[in-house]
Symmetry: C2
Subunit: 349 residues, 2 copies
């Protein structure tokens, strides 16, 4: 009864990348029946984004969508503009596609400062140039004072990929190795530590970055379908991403705690705040499920990139316990890692 009552309004946790977020997405998409829309081209549903195969053409268009409500607008290591581009470009890359273009919808509160807008827009544009994507269309809206807190950006990314490349959430195979390209939880932790009121002093920076150098380093393996799944663990963190994979691929994923790269400051701040670092958002890391015969070669290629120096093979895919994620702890035991319910930490991305 209480659950029913409380589910009648939107809660912060509905946007936090966990179980409640999944519920909200199901609620919003339950009416949508892609197959009922027969518009001659055949739109296929796939992961967070989607693909549009082009008739009589060996490539398909890849589309992803993202809302960016991060606060504060400027944080150690990044800002709203940079985050907007990285989040979207990374989603395209994680589907094995080459990012081409972005649309950017900027919604601003009346009274917002032009100088601050200039900084955000400059960051957005220069990150897009770095990622070699064009901002091809956009919209701006101004909302009356008090109806929006400062500024938010919504982006849609457009990429292109060969039809033969299949990197999907349900692509994990028993025996695959799991790679993480760097330390986990930096973004969310840096943001929380910096947030007004928390008063924590640290040199920790967000990991917000474009994953393109890593993508290019392993392009051969991507083309050869040796990468079975790829995901940037944003909202919901590593735990959210792995649980999503285990559930969609009907396998278990066993992770070795000892191998997980995590910064001391991240562990310390998460402990202090009573948060689980496995659930905290990254904005410049990739998780990959890769063919075990090639995993060491792939790891070495990633480790040669600037962003991937701390990459590690952290676990493997198994047949038993389908749908579950297990952690071999440092002290020798094994425990389940559950899909986070959704940490009620608003405006983390």
């Amino acid at each position: 009864m209480e659950k029913e009552e409380s589910s009648k309004i939107i809660r912060l946790a509905h946007g936090a990348g966990g179980v409640l977020q999944e519920e909200l997405i199901k609620f919003i998409t339950k009416d949508i029946t892609l197959k009922n829309v027969n518009n001659g081209i055949g739109v296929e549903e796939l992961d967070d984004g989607a693909t549009i195969p082009l008739k009589d053409y060996d490539k398909e268009i890849v589309i992803t969508a993202d809302g960016h409500t991060v606060f504060p607008l400027f944080f150690p290591g990044g800002d709203l503009g940079k985050l907007s581009v990285c989040g979207t470009v990374n989603d395209i890359l994680m589907m094995g596609a080459k990012p081409l273009a972005l649309t950017s919808i900027i919604i601003i509160e009346e009274g917002f400062n032009f100088d601050t807008l200039q900084k955000i827009v400059h960051s957005l544009n220069s990150t897009a140039t770095e990622a070699c994507v064009a901002i091809i269309a956009g919209d701006t809206k101004v909302m009356p004072r008090g109806t929006l807190n400062e500024i938010i950006i919504a982006t849609t990314g457009i990429g292109i990929k060969d039809k033969k490349i299949k990197i999907v959430d349900n692509g994990l195979k028993p025996g695959d190795n799991i790679i993480i390209t760097g330390s986990i939880g930096d973004h969310g932790t840096a943001l929380m530590a910096n947030r007004e009121g928390l008063n924590i002093s640290t040199d920790l920076e967000s990991d917000v970055s474009i994953l393109i150098e890593i993508f290019n380093a392993i392009k051969k393996e991507i083309d050869e379908n040796l990468i079975h799944a790829m995901k940037d663990p944003t909202r919901g963190g590593m735990a959210g991403a792995l649980n999503d994979w285990a559930s969609k691929s009907n396998v278990s994923i066993v992770i070795d705690e000892e191998k997980i790269p995590i910064k001391k400051q991240v562990s310390a701040i998460c402990d202090m705040l009573g948060l689980d670092s496995f659930n905290i958002a990254c904005e410049g890391r990739a998780l990959m499920a890769v063919d075990s015969n090639q995993s060491e070669i792939i790891l070495q290629k990633i480790k040669k990139t600037k962003l991937g120096r701390d990459a590690m093979i952290i676990g493997e895919v198994q047949k038993d316990n389908p749908g579950r994620v297990l952690l071999k702890t440092i002290v020798g035991g094994t425990r389940f890692i559950d899909m986070p319910l959704g940490e009620p930490i608003p405006r983390i991305c």
Copy 2:
């Protein structure tokens, strides 16, 4: 000095589709140099939206982006969900393209009611089904109570068109006829009349609609490039759209006041509020600049559609006074119609 001072913050009029909106867009896009981004596919800038030509393929992808902040969420004739789809699909159609898909980013205030969300999402989905477009990707974010007024939606539309079709803002030719597919200003006026506090009673409804039936009726003429420009006059209204064309095509447009279809209630409410109905947003009308030899045939085809019954040829394109829009008034004089400065009427779309 005063101008300089006041331009340092964002004003409501910066989002209102007039001169100040143009300034804001220039400010945001001044850093963007499409040609510097050489990503191998060649992204071409074009109008409100953009096209991505596909190599060795006779079609190109069309992309448009829109933020929807309309308030109240439900208004006579429509709601936020319907408006979001119509606005985006119409932008695609106005470029001569077939709409394929949408992305939908929904940003919601904590505490928002699930029942209301359900109504908006249902309207969004059913309008998309009616338009035969698939909602292929999306995102949801929840913002803390008090940092966003209820709910906004950002959409990006994806369409496809033959490369040979060229319907562009700088495509007007002297001699062309200007067609409007129905009465002007219904959407903005209905919304204002309904808005809390104004207390005006009227049966006027928004014209918010998908223009697909009209598009299909004149598809032959579109394919034959007899339609030189096409635009749905949203923010900035008819005056904004015509001035934009005149300026980009370096021609003048002479409009006959007598011919402009306008509802009595719209005239009356605009007079009462001291607003110019030529500047008020439509959400289900198209302006077209068409080959004068075919304009009567095109008009008759439009008039046979449900949405286009009141269509009229309202003016013509001329060489003199390049960049200007002129009105032949009912009383026999001629006056300029300027680009609106931007009516400070927030959240109209």
